[in-house]
């Protein structure tokens, strides 16, 4: 039996906090319901369009429907914020490093697979002030500068940014929090 010297509440909570796992079929069952609802909704909306088509011989109705569709489409275009291919919000973010003796500077981080497959962001120099602007997804990221100088390649954290904690494999990184400017 449990030791009654320990707090009973602690023991109860510890036991109730054990993880519970569902099997893979749960997701399938939910998606069956979701897809059924999605299909019903599509059939209902097609029914509305069919009604619209049947009244095209009434010019006033046709013009009204067409104007409504154009208005919605225009609003959609105007309100679109730059997004990733998967639909996430991205924000233009500028990285700046003062490195007067550097031959090249690149930015690598979570947002570009750390430069794997030639995805590093290459900065341009303005009298030793290197900068590059890139689209970065909203969220928190780790990143670093890779500076090519007289002593070869060197990893540098961003001196103007918060430090990033965590195993950095002996080479410093910085933390970047990108906020959604649409909010």
């Amino acid at each position: 039996m449990p030791e009654w010297g320990r707090t009973t509440l602690e023991m109860i909570v510890q036991d109730l906090q054990r993880p519970v796992r569902l099997d893979e079929s749960f997701e399938r069952r939910v998606m069956v319901r979701v897809r059924r609802y999605y299909a019903q909704r599509r059939r209902r909306s097609r029914g509305w369009l069919a009604v619209g088509a049947s009244i095209t011989h009434h010019p006033a109705w046709t013009a009204a429907v067409a104007a409504g569709i154009v208005a919605v489409a225009t609003l959609g275009v105007l309100s679109v914020h730059p997004r990733t291919a998967s639909g996430g919000v991205i924000e233009p973010t500028t990285f700046v490093l003062v490195a007067p003796t550097a031959r090249s500077v690149a930015v690598v981080g979570d947002f570009n697979n750390w430069g794997l497959d030639d995805s590093a962001l290459v900065a341009t120099s303005n009298q030793g002030v290197w900068s590059v602007t890139a689209s970065v997804p909203v969220g928190v990221h780790r990143y670093a500068f890779v500076v090519n100088g007289v002593n070869g390649k060197q990893w540098m954290a961003d001196p103007t940014a918060p430090r990033s904690s965590g195993d950095d494999f002996g080479m410093p990184s910085s933390a970047l929090v990108v906020e959604d400017s649409t909010k």
């Binding site: 979570d110 780790r142 904690s165 195993d167």
Partner: protein
């Protein structure tokens, strides 16, 4: 050995021994340029993390970071396992309402030395009213610059409690950093700047 240490070691063992599934086949991400045992070990950690509802993107990012920085497979595996542990602990500390970014930032703060219980208190204080991603990130930063954990946590708590926006918290971080670089004791820098950032009319709201 404390119960907590025992529990942590068991969790590491659980993560290490979790069976290798066809994670690579299910997930489009490919673990690049790693030896087969390291890939298998990381796939197991990822599987376990998914089962616990922990964000797995940071684990893949850690792999990429390690590869690019020239770390060997075993070192990367250790880094990924430790990160998964921190993410799991952060997830438990912050509760069901935390976002993936808050969990990531909290894991970073824990790695810097902030106890999970402090992060949980901050989350309970702020609730759904604001994101804590940036406050946790700044907390990790100022602790790494020598501000004692309790002083740093109090400073962040007072800023959040006073309704400071992310811009204010960013300014606070920059000011503390500059003060420390100019020779100020870290604790004094953080305390002074936190008072300065909290708006006078909101002082009553500061959590004592």
């Amino acid at each position: 050995m404390s119960k907590r240490t025992t529990r942590s070691l068991m969790m590491v063992a659980a993560l290490a021994s979790a069976s290798v599934t066809s994670a690579n086949a299910q997930d489009p991400r490919v673990l690049p340029r790693l030896d087969a045992p390291s890939r298998a070990a990381i796939a197991a950690v990822v599987d376990s993390a998914k089962a616990q509802g922990i964000p797995v993107e940071p684990l893949y990012d850690k792999v990429n970071e390690g590869v690019v920085k020239g770390a060997d497979g075993p070192h990367i595996v250790v880094a990924v396992r430790n990160l998964a542990l921190d993410l799991a602990t952060a997830h438990r500390a912050l509760g069901a309402l935390a976002t993936a970014d808050e969990i990531k930032a909290a894991a970073s703060a824990m790695h810097a030395g902030v106890p999970a219980v402090e992060l949980g208190k901050l989350k309970k204080q702020s609730g759904l009213r604001r994101s804590l991603t940036l406050p946790f990130t700044v907390l990790a930063d100022i602790v790494s610059r020598g501000v004692p954990v309790s002083t740093a946590a109090n400073a962040i708590r007072s800023l959040v409690g006073a309704g400071a926006k992310d811009k204010d918290i960013n300014d606070f971080q920059r000011n503390v950093k500059v003060d420390i670089e100019q020779g100020a004791p870290p604790a004094a820098a953080a305390e002074t700047r936190a008072k300065g950032t909290a708006k006078p009319e909101n002082l009553d709201q500061i959590d004592q």
